[in-house]
């Protein structure tokens, strides 16, 4: 991970979606997700429409579908929950392949599955096309209170330090004959967690002081550029507006 620049879900290439300022992407994703969530669950066509919209974004952003599908598996616990619902739900029941299923539960399962999946896909597309730093900059431009962006900046920075220090400690141990198969691994882990925390903290503290020594006052210097233009907003608005139209048509139909 390159010093808070990239993150594991970021796809490092160029596309029209990548180039959009982060703030318009955040707002578009949020509005899209809200439309998805308020759509009544039995409007099946609407959800198909939303999926098509996301496929459109995926094509423009040049995100490989397989890559996205693999990342989407973090939703799995919820899919499992969804599968359980038809069995555990109340009310009217139907019988299918010898199983007694609750109708409300089936609807609930579909609801969680459809809305959950669409939400995860939208968020993944946002993550794939936005670096951590752009995201923070976007939040900053959206007037997110500075404490959050400040804590988040340090958090991303420290994630690197934690990973880096954990790696250094591992190398140091290995070089001195440590064989992680030994049983006292647990003890080493316990000692390690505390030591890692202190060590990373003190390193991070020194880094922070070095930043302060060079005039840091809570805000990273903004890269040149003024943020989103009207054209950017218009372009990104297509997604939530299209979703809104689909929802409206589905409800009215």
């Amino acid at each position: 991970m390159g010093a808070g620049h990239a993150h594991p879900l970021h796809l490092d290439h160029d596309s029209r979606v990548h180039r959009l300022p982060a703030e318009v992407k955040i707002v578009a994703t949020l509005l899209f997700t809200i439309v998805v969530v308020i759509t009544p669950r039995e409007k099946f066509v609407a959800f198909a429409g939303y999926l098509l919209l996301l496929v459109g974004v995926l094509v423009v952003a040049k995100v490989p579908p397989g890559w996205l599908a693999k990342r989407a598996t973090i939703e799995l616990p919820f899919v499992l929950l969804a599968i359980a619902l038809p069995f555990a739900g109340h009310g009217e029941r139907v019988h299918w392949l010898g199983m007694s299923l609750s109708v409300d539960g089936l609807h609930g399962a579909w609801n969680i599955f459809a809305k959950g999946t669409l939400g995860v896909l939208a968020s993944l597309l946002l993550a794939a096309t936005t670096t951590a730093r752009d995201l923070l900059l976007g939040l900053d431009r959206l007037r997110c209170p500075q404490v959050f962006t400040q804590i988040a900046t340090f958090m991303l920075r420290y994630l690197d330090i934690l990973a880096d220090d954990a790696r250094r400690m591992r190398v140091a141990r290995l070089s001195r004959g440590y064989d992680p198969r030994f049983l006292w691994q647990v003890k080493a882990f316990a000692v390690g967690v505390g030591a890692l925390f202190i060590r990373s903290y003190e390193r991070g503290e020194r880094v922070y002081l070095a930043m302060v020594a060079r005039g840091y006052s809570g805000r990273l210097p903004r890269p040149e550029g003024t943020g989103a233009t009207t054209a950017d907003w218009v372009r990104s608005a297509t997604l939530p507006i299209a979703a809104g139209v689909i929802a409206l048509v589905a409800v009215l139909a």
Partner: protein
């Protein structure tokens, strides 16, 4: 049934209840921002970032608690002990916001629910216990470790019950609430024990090596040995720190 990983996804709780809790979370965080500013000095700023990063890292450890039941650590108590309740709540919510936006973990529309459970309820419960326990327990690394352990277990369970409440108000499918409450509580007692152990080890190490960094001990230290440093001027810090 499956013990829900604590990050609620889109579509589990209906839109109205999600909106109500988003408003509650926003109000609570506004208070934290206001109260936390005074705390966020030179020393606490990097600590807050590290606590957030640490919580972020431990939240990635997903525990298989029982067959088919998994959950992960929350970190609220650790945050309270090291950076205090206000900044602690801000740390946990920052983690949740970043996880939601950059790691697609937890639904965007469920952010208010998640923040309420983990950042507000979990942290508040942890804080009350820490404050209470430290009155009676010794202010030593061991005492702080025990405090952190107990407070972690309780706060995790309390936070999990907040989910049950939300589900009762706006669950999209009718389920037997006592079953959910029972399963969630059982699963989270175990999660809480795991979390408590990590929190206890970490806090004990910090208390031994850098006692000055443990927020929960500051109050007691001040009376013991008056520090020459003047109190941080509250308003001046606002923009800068």
């Amino acid at each position: 049934m499956n013990g829900v990983a604590m990050h609620i996804a889109n579509g589990i709780v209906n839109a109205q209840v999600s909106a109500i809790f988003a408003a509650i979370a926003a109000a609570a965080l506004a208070i934290c921002v206001w109260r936390g500013r005074a705390d966020l000095d030179d020393r606490l700023a990097p600590m807050a970032g590290l606590v957030a990063a640490f919580i972020f890292a431990v939240q990635m450890l997903n525990f298989q608690v029982l067959p088919g039941v998994s959950g992960h650590l929350l970190g609220g108590t650790l945050a309270v002990v090291l950076v205090g309740p206000w900044v602690g709540a801000l740390c946990v919510s920052t983690v949740l916001i970043i996880q939601c936006l950059l790691f697609a973990d937890g639904g965007l529309t469920a952010l208010g629910l998640n923040i309420t459970n983990m950042a507000v309820v979990g942290t508040a419960a942890g804080y009350l216990l820490v404050a209470g326990l430290l009155r009676v327990l010794p202010k030593t690394p061991r005492g702080v470790a025990i405090t952190a352990f107990v407070a972690s277990v309780v706060s995790v369970v309390v936070a999990s019950q907040a989910f049950v409440l939300e589900y009762a108000l706006g669950g999209t499918t009718e389920l037997n609430l006592t079953t959910i409450a029972g399963t969630m509580a059982a699963a989270h007692v175990l999660i809480g024990i795991g979390e408590g152990l990590i929190a206890a080890v970490t806090v004990a190490t910090v208390a031994r090596v850098r006692p000055d960094l443990v927020y929960a001990l500051r109050r007691f230290r001040k009376t013991a040995s008056p520090s020459p440093k003047p109190a941080v001027p509250a308003p001046a810090v606002g923009g800068a720190a």
